[in-house]
Subunit: 496 residues, 2 copies
């Protein structure tokens, strides 16, 4: 008895791949590619470990070098799998008044350039959210740790793991002949609002992006253990609310009772934003929310989602709403407001008897179609300025919206979505959940608007990956089977 069929195929295809141009086979055997992917698992995990180790936190200006280093490493890997790469400069960031930092370059890459094949452009990002062991991580956040089938570490799910799965898929399919041209847009500022990216897409509309047929964003989780395809995302209006009372911190013994305390004003203002049930109290905020139709309501019926799992995963005692549909609607199609924290006040453990001089609260509104960030900015600013003026405090107050990312929604019945659904069926033997993201993929809407091409979010994150929290992870299953999903999708695209 000879070797099994797939090994034989792999051998033949490997030989073919040694030719200078990859041989184009239609349709490629998913099986052969999948076996190749299985064989590379350990290497894939090791590469993810190396990439997680780089603290590419884009919110912290002192880590900007590591974001840049991350972009270089990504470039090197793309070159290594046969891509062409341009490191596009996108200017500077005004981090605080007068303080400018160069923005990390954006990777524009291309693998394959055959006019007879469709061109799919994938988007991902290499920056991560802040993470410190002290925040409550069980492991060092920048040291990938494999435990019980999960790979823990900052960026494993959002978004290094997802981008790597895609790159590994491209490399795997390429071994047997890529049936599509692949383009890549990989940035380093997603977690802080993708500054500079929009302008780059506009500038390159008629050059790099001119032949792009489809855009796929690889930065999103599934809703459950069932694979999900995402056709919408909420936006994000991120605010800084600053109150300044004194020029230096004061001792509460010596000054308590004699000065207007900045913290007291700030707490008052924050208390006006949202009620206990999460209802936003700012007038006009709900005016432009798209009304719910009966047709849309239907969509929520077949989704696989467990409120019990959500409670177990988060540890919350009670959810804000009591049905699956209501919870998902409030995650996807209604706005929310969260207060993230306060900069400048005492935040350590222990006791400190300080009256903080200047405090800056951070809060954000996740907005939905058809809410407009500029209008939200005006509504929030007017509201807080009125409240503060009514309060009659002599302290200085300032509101600013530092991120204004738009919400996005796509036509879920276009060919791009059909290809992805077919790929899901082939890899997982099930229908895909058609879902939305509660979080923000700022570039999704802008890609659609600027390039006029269909956009889809095809991610491989798990529903419990905790992408912005402590103990972020991706399961080994999602990481490896997700690689196969991308590999299968690359083969489905020419067929639709």
């Amino acid at each position: 008895m000879g070797p099994p069929f797939h090994i034989t195929m792999l051998f033949i295809l490997s030989l073919l791949s040694l030719l200078s141009d990859p041989v184009f086979l239609t349709p490629i055997q998913n099986d052969a590619v999948f076996h190749y992917i299985n064989d590379q698992q350990n290497e894939y995990i090791q590469r993810l470990k190396n990439w997680v180790a780089i603290e590419s936190d884009s919110s912290d200006p002192s880590k900007r070098d590591q974001v840049n280093q991350m972009m270089e490493i990504t470039k090197d890997y793309i070159l290594n799998i046969g891509g062409e790469v341009e490191m596009a400069k996108i200017g500077e960031q005004e981090y605080s008044p007068g303080v400018k930092l160069p923005l990390p370059p954006v990777i524009l890459a291309q693998i394959g350039n055959d006019k007879d094949k469709p061109t799919v452009c994938f988007y991902g990002h290499m920056d991560v959210q802040p993470a410190k062991k002290d925040d409550g991580w069980k492991t060092e956040p920048y040291t990938l740790q494999e435990t019980n089938g999960n790979l823990f570490g900052r960026g494993t799910s959002d978004d290094k793991g997802q981008v790597l799965a895609l790159l590994h898929a491209v490399e795997s399919v390429k071994k047997f002949g890529l049936p599509v041209n692949v383009k890549l847009v990989i940035e380093g500022m997603e977690e802080v609002g993708s500054q500079g990216l929009e302008k780059l897409v506009e500038d390159k509309k008629d050059t790099f992006f001119s032949d792009v047929d489809y855009i796929v964003v690889t930065d999103t989780p599934w809703l459950s253990t069932k694979p999900g395809i995402t056709y919408g995302a909420r936006g994000n209006c991120y605010f800084m609310l600053e109150v300044e009372g004194a020029k230096r911190d004061l001792h509460s013994g010596g000054f308590g009772g004699t000065v207007y305390e900045a913290m007291s004003d700030l707490i008052y203002l924050l208390g006006q934003l949202v009620d206990v049930k999460g209802k936003i109290l700012i007038p006009g905020v709900y005016d432009d929310v798209v009304p719910l139709t009966e047709q849309e309501k239907e969509l929520y019926k077949n989704l696989e989602f467990s409120l019990d799992d959500m409670q177990a995963d988060t540890g919350v005692k009670q959810l804000l709403h009591d049905t699956k549909a209501k919870i998902l609607m409030h995650r996807w199609r209604y706005p929310s407001l969260s207060i993230h924290g306060i900069e400048g006040a005492f935040s350590g453990s222990g006791t400190k008897t300080v009256i903080p001089a200047k405090v800056i609260a951070k809060f954000s509104i996740r907005q939905v179609p058809n809410m407009n960030p500029s209008l939200i900015e005006k509504q929030v600013t007017d509201y807080l300025e009125n409240k503060f003026s009514e309060r009659n405090s002599p302290n200085k107050m300032k509101v600013s919206m530092v991120i204004g990312a738009q919400p996005w929604i796509a036509d879920m019945n276009g060919p791009l979505y059909v290809a992805a659904r077919n790929a899901v069926t082939k890899v997982f033997n099930t229908d895909a959940d058609m879902i939305r993201a509660g979080g923000t993929i700022p570039i999704a809407k802008r890609f659609e608007e600027i390039l006029g091409k269909p956009v889809m979010l095809l991610g491989i994150g798990g529903s419990d990956d905790a992408p912005h929290g402590q103990n972020e992870k991706i399961s080994k299953y999602n990481y490896i089977e997700g690689t196969k999903l991308y590999a299968s999708f690359l083969q489905e695209i020419p067929l639709v």
Copy 2:
């Protein structure tokens, strides 16, 4: 012409001090001691620099070793100037449930033991408030920096500089013969509530403290550039208010609008504590405040205090009250409530889209005679529990009072105060301001209660030293002239 008189005196007295027992001269020439002090200035500053360099932050358990190291260095210096020292063990601190840390030992020291002389016991502390350059310090907080006649660094004023001035004064007067017995109680936990000290004083009441006639606390600032003597201090009830919503931090995209956010509950509760004018909203809190008498009102008329200077020093746009008397009454004789900050929320710069899982607010009430910490604890806890229960949030809420230090007030006409006033007049050629501390000297009231002896606060801090804020300093003038004040006071005590 021979050398000036004071140099001759100094020479003669220095020779006399070489005899095995110091020669007892009554009254000692202030002048000779003062000149000796002037000659030692650089050494005094260098020693303060060395002591400031030790990060003896008692609120941070990871720095406990440095608090202990500070106590050892203080012991060594007291031994060096001829004192006897006992390092009194005071047990353990339960830092958090189940986590115990040994408390730093308390120094009990004695210099001189002559039954015919009065015995003055001085109290000070070697621990400091937290400090990081990032908090907004212009210099490294633990590196003493001399600029324009000021000595900047954490602990320069509160309280290392004041204790060192006293020790230098003792050493200087001792050179010429100490007319009193000096006892010293120096602890390392003042900034977090002097845990263990009260019990030690009780335990040693009939031994170490049995012959003490007077107690002087060296941990207080003046009201202006004029020297002040302090006869009262506010207390401190320090609260931790914790709200827990989830078992891990959540992403505001994925969870905003679907969970009861802990921050939202906490902000609501904090908003119920105090109004814009600093009025505490907790029912019953003002019930036990001693009513203001006409006689007490008179005291406020002659104090040197400038509202303009206070505004310039703090940079506040407007003070809470419009007269000197009202401001000082609200600093000294009325309670106040300050919100210090929140632990567990996002406190960095930049943007983070997190829903914090568990947040702990820190606030404190500076209470005055005759408010009782146990009653305050009950009033605050009942009030917040009611407010939280009305709110109907499923999250977990917990209030705890972690410091409950009593207020204190003394008879300002006793002999201890007369001696101090005479010393002020001799060193500074002016009457002393008779003042109170807005802050807390927890041990003052307990010394008085346990030992039944008069207590006085004779400090040398400047009114603008920022003892718990950024850029803490002591002026070189206060440090050196303050050393002379203690030296003079040591000579005045036997005369009253």
